[in-house]
Symmetry: C2
Subunit: 225 residues, 2 copies
C-alpha cells in the first residue's frame, strides 16, 4: 500500500472502519486516532444526524451515518455501543455484519452505589455474546482498556498502552493488531481466545478503581515481550 | 526500622512472612525475593521435611516448617497452594490465621487439552473464597501475575512488573503494597476490592497464552500513574 502525503494530508486510505455507537466518547476517540493513522472512519448511530455532528472536529476522514451505513462500507466494524444496547444492535445487524471483522470493545459493567461492578454475562463475555449472535462474522475483542479522554485529547500525541486482543480467528486478530499498531503509542498483543475475553473486559473495573483513586487515566503494558 | 548491614548481610528483619504451599515454584520464588529484600520467610508444607529441602538455596532467612509453623510466627501469610488445595488448607488453618494478613495469590485455573482455562468459583474468586473461609483474617489478593521462573532466576536482579493488589481492608492492602515495593522492580498497585479479584486471577490465563505463543515470561505494568 502506497501512502502519499500532500500538504500533510494522507490522501490514500488504509481502509475503512465502521464504528457502531460512534457518538460515544470511546467511539469518537477511536475514530479520531484511526483517522489520524490513515483510515477512513464511518461513525454509525441510530440517529444519523447525531452521527454527523459527532464526526465534526475529528478530521476529514471521519463521517457520520446510520448503523447500517457504518457497516456497509467497512471491512472492519468496531462495536462501541453501551452494554445495554449490545445484544440488540448486533442482532439487528447480523446479516450486514456477515463476513466482516467485528471488533468488540464493549465492557459489561454497571455502577452500583457509584462503584464499578463487572456484570455476569450468560455467554461468558460480551465478545462471546457477539460470536453467538454473529455466527457469520469474525469476532475479535480489543480496545477494552483504552481511556476515551486520552484518545480524544489532541495534546496526547503518543498513547502509552497495549491493547489486549482476543479471538478465535487468528488472521482476523492479526488484522486488528495491525490496525492497532498503526496508532502511535498503542501496541496490539494477542492474548487468547474468545473464551478468555471475560477477564479482559472485567479488568476495566480495576482500571476505573485506579483512575478514581489516583485521578489518572490508567492503561496497561505487557512486559517481557 | 533500622536496617544494619554487616558483610553484605541484612541483620535486622522487615518482619516474618509465612508461605503456605511454600514448596511450589511460586512460593519458593516469592520466598527468595522477600528474603533478599530483608524479610524472614517460613515456607510451610504438609511435609515439613520437604519444606526444609525447599528452603535450601534460598538464603539464610528462609526456613522450612509445617503449615501451622509457617502461620504462627508470621504477621503476613502468603497462600500459594494449588487451587485444588485452596479451600481445605484455609479451612484447616482458620483459627491460626485469625487476625493475620492473608495474601492470596492462587489462580483458579485448569488445563483442558493443554489450554489454560479460568475456572468459575462459586464465591466469585479464590480471594473471595478465602474471605468466606477466614472471616477473622484480613484477606488481600496479590502476586497473581508474577512469573515464578523470573522470581527464581538469580540473574534477574530487577523484576519488571506491577502487582495488582485487591482487598476490602485498605490498611492491610497498604501493608502488602509496602512489602511488594521492597522487592526491586515490583510495584504494588491497589486496584479494587475482593469483589474485583476474579478478573485479576483469571487474567493469568491470558498471560500464559502470551508466554506460550512468544516463549516469554509476560508481566503487566499499569501506565499513566
Amino acid at each position: 500500500l502506497q501512502v502519499v502525503h500532500h500538504n500533510q494530508q494522507v490522501t490514500t486510505t488504509l481502509g475503512t472502519v465502521g464504528i457502531l455507537g460512534g457518538t460515544g466518547a470511546q467511539g469518537r476517540g477511536l475514530a479520531f486516532r484511526l483517522a489520524k493513522a490513515g483510515y477512513d472512519v464511518i461513525l454509525g448511530s441510530r440517529d444519523q444526524e447525531r452521527a454527523r455532528q459527532a464526526a465534526e472536529g475529528l478530521g476529514d476522514r471521519v463521517t457520520g451515518s446510520t448503523l447500517r451505513g457504518a457497516v456497509e462500507g467497512a471491512a472492519i466494524v468496531i462495536v462501541a455501543v453501551p452494554w445495554d444496547a449490545h445484544a440488540q444492535t448486533l442482532t439487528d445487524l447480523r446479516e450486514e455484519l456477515e463476513g466482516r471483522i467485528v471488533v468488540d470493545c464493549v465492557n459489561p459493567l454497571a455502577f452500583i452505589d457509584r462503584a464499578p461492578v463487572a456484570l455476569k454475562v450468560d455467554e461468558g463475555s460480551a465478545c462471546q455474546q457477539a460470536a453467538v449472535l454473529l455466527p457469520g462474522s469474525r469476532v475479535v475483542g480489543a480496545f477494552h482498556h483504552v481511556a476515551a479522554p486520552l484518545l480524544l485529547d489532541e495534546s496526547v500525541t503518543e498513547l502509552n498502552t497495549d491493547v489486549m486482543v482476543v479471538g478465535d480467528d487468528v488472521p482476523a486478530c492479526e488484522e486488528v493488531v495491525q490496525m492497532i499498531d498503526s496508532i502511535p503509542g498503542l501496541r496490539g498483543v494477542r492474548c487468547g481466545t474468545l473464551a478468555d475475553a471475560g477477564q479482559v473486559e472485567a479488568l476495566t473495573v480495576n482500571l476505573i478503581r485506579i483512575n478514581r483513586r489516583l485521578k489518572v487515566h490508567a492503561g496497561i503494558r505487557i512486559t517481557g515481550l
